[in-house]
């Protein structure tokens, strides 16, 4: 069963790479777009840290590491899922979702994995470089277990991104012309790269447990450089919150599908 999905995925992966390489200019331009946004973020925080030494317990290079970590997570999400999930409202509107639903595989898998973006992988590597540069500035060498936990946490961070985007896309079964929902994703994740200490407690509960965007990058970053002996609790929080949001979005997707009446027939 799992093998079959891996096989299907590797075929789709190959097709995406072939397509991507036949539009090289587009590939390079998308990379440029992301690099510009990333640089803008870094400039913004440099301006802020030109005026203060720290925000709560976060120093300048710790925040840069946080922004870099968020870059890795969001770019991995964009590489594997973003284009596909962002396209769901359009599939619903035009009735093209039919051809996805009749496939003899899980509909959510089929709708989420068709295309793969290599440019985002390159940008995730840029994020990783920034994380390493920050570590060098901090003069900190994390232990093997911290690095392993960091990588696991990044995986769960991608899950959170994916679940929020899928939940938003599923709304399009009710609201046709729901391109605004894609902006919703960017707006939610906008706050993921800010240090956690700036948020009031109610905000931290809502966006730490129910729509867990605040912890997406913060927990991996803390696990890497400043877990203060709380690694167990941090990873537990992320795993539980990510699992809840994932299962909620999947249940919502299946509920929305039952409501789907094709536009094409």
């Amino acid at each position: 069963m799992v093998r079959r999905y891996i096989e299907i995925y590797s075929i789709m992966l190959r097709n995406s790479l072939i397509r991507e390489m036949s539009f090289k200019a587009n590939f390079l331009l998308w990379m440029l777009v992301e690099v510009l946004w990333f640089c803008g973020q870094i400039v913004f925080f440099s301006i802020i840290f030109g005026n203060v030494d720290r925000l709560g317990d976060w120093t300048k290079w710790e925040v840069v590491l946080l922004v870099g970590t968020h870059q890795i997570i969001s770019q991995l999400f964009q590489a594997f899922f973003f284009v596909n999930v962002a396209n769901i409202p359009e599939l619903v509107r035009t009735g093209k979702l039919d051809s996805v639903l009749v496939l003899p595989i899980d509909s959510q898998f089929a709708a989420s994995t068709k295309q793969f973006g290599l440019d985002s992988i390159v940008n995730a590597v840029v994020g990783a470089v920034v994380v390493c540069v920050s570590l060098a500035h901090l003069g900190y060498v994390p232990g093997v277990s911290a690095v392993l936990l960091y990588l696991v946490a990044i995986g769960f961070g991608v899950t959170v991104h994916y679940s929020i985007m899928l939940g938003l896309a599923a709304v399009s079964f009710w609201v046709v012309r729901a391109q605004g929902l894609v902006y919703g994703y960017f707006n939610f994740l906008n706050i993921a790269r800010y240090p956690d200490v700036i948020f009031p407690w109610l905000f931290r509960i809502i966006f730490g447990w129910i729509i867990p965007v605040v912890i997406v990058a913060k927990i991996p970053a803390r696990l890497l450089i400043k877990s203060f002996g709380q690694s167990g609790w941090l990873i537990f929080h992320l795993v539980i919150a990510a699992s809840i949001v994932f299962w909620l979005s999947r249940a919502f997707w299946q509920f929305a599908l039952r409501r789907y009446s094709s536009a094409s027939s």
Partner: protein, 274 residues
């Protein structure tokens, strides 16, 4: 008024009406966008609150209240002036050959899009106003109206020019669809410059003076930041005059670019479809 003049005005009013109806379809889309837009605003408010608490004093002429006020104004002005769907609609018109039928109409495509732009701004502003009013009421203690009455007039003038500059830039970019199949990368590249250099992300006047001096010559400064700085009375006297002059210059340049792009694009255009 002669019959031909009324006829001309009627023509534009009917396009304006079509625009109103077309945009109205997107009302939920716009409303969701406005509501979701409040999340990053909350993030920004918390971030600056932490910065000012840590610093314990003002920052380049801003305190916590005036910083929040700046972002509220940025939200309001960008809702008023920023085109939302226009570039995608224009690109689709060109790609799918819709402009064929518009070419035969007694109205230039620029004028046609211009009417659509105003009507969509009107609908967008109306739909997004409730959340914005709510936010303004919530932060009412930070609102300080300008001292001089003239400021209102100059701000309105500058907002109008910002809207026109944004429209002409959007129009010129969308004209790239004559040559390229996919224009979204170009639109997003320009958008990222607008976001960071236009004052969406942070007020330009907290940047180092040398960088500010350079940014004053770029069009992005006049797409959003300039009218807000006028309203906050941060731009005064000779600086104000200089800003309005450069803004009019960019208005003229972007208008010329929009017309030139259309002419060159049309020369390159081969009508598809029947």
């Amino acid at each position: 008024m002669s019959a031909s003049t009324t006829g001309k005005i009627d023509k534009y009013i009917s396009v304006f009406n079509i625009g109103l109806q077309n945009t109205f379809v997107y009302r939920w889309n716009y409303f969701l966008r406005a509501v979701f837009g409040l999340i990053p605003l909350a993030g920004t408010v918390f971030l600056w609150s932490a910065v000012f608490k840590e610093r314990g004093g003002g920052l380049h002429g801003y305190d916590y209240g005036s910083m929040i006020y700046y972002y509220l104004l940025a939200l309001l002005v960008s809702n008023l002036v920023t085109p939302t769907e226009d570039e995608w609609q224009i690109a689709a018109d060109i790609r799918e050959g819709q402009i064929n039928s518009l070419l035969t109409k007694p109205m230039s495509y620029l004028a046609y899009r211009f009417c659509i732009f105003w009507s969509s701004r009107l609908v967008y502003t109306a739909v997004t106003l409730p959340p914005i009013v709510f936010i303004f009421i919530y932060f009412r203690h930070y609102i300080t109206p300008p001292v001089h009455t003239l400021t209102y007039f100059l701000t309105t003038l500058s907002i109008l020019m910002s809207a026109l500059i944004q429209f002409f830039i959007t129009y010129s970019l969308a004209m790239m669809a004559f040559w390229l199949l996919e224009i979204s990368t170009i639109i997003f590249i320009v958008y990222s410059f607008e976001y960071f250099l236009g004052g969406q992300m942070f007020p330009i006047d907290i940047m180092p003076v040398s960088i500010q001096a350079a940014m004053k010559w770029l069009p992005f400064y006049y797409e959003l930041f300039c009218p807000i700085a006028i309203f906050l009375e941060h731009l005064k006297g000779a600086d104000l005059l200089q800003a309005l002059t450069i803004q009019s210059g960019w208005l003229f340049l972007t208008w010329a670019a929009a017309r030139a792009m259309w002419r060159r694009g049309l020369g390159h255009y081969q009508a598809v479809g029947g």
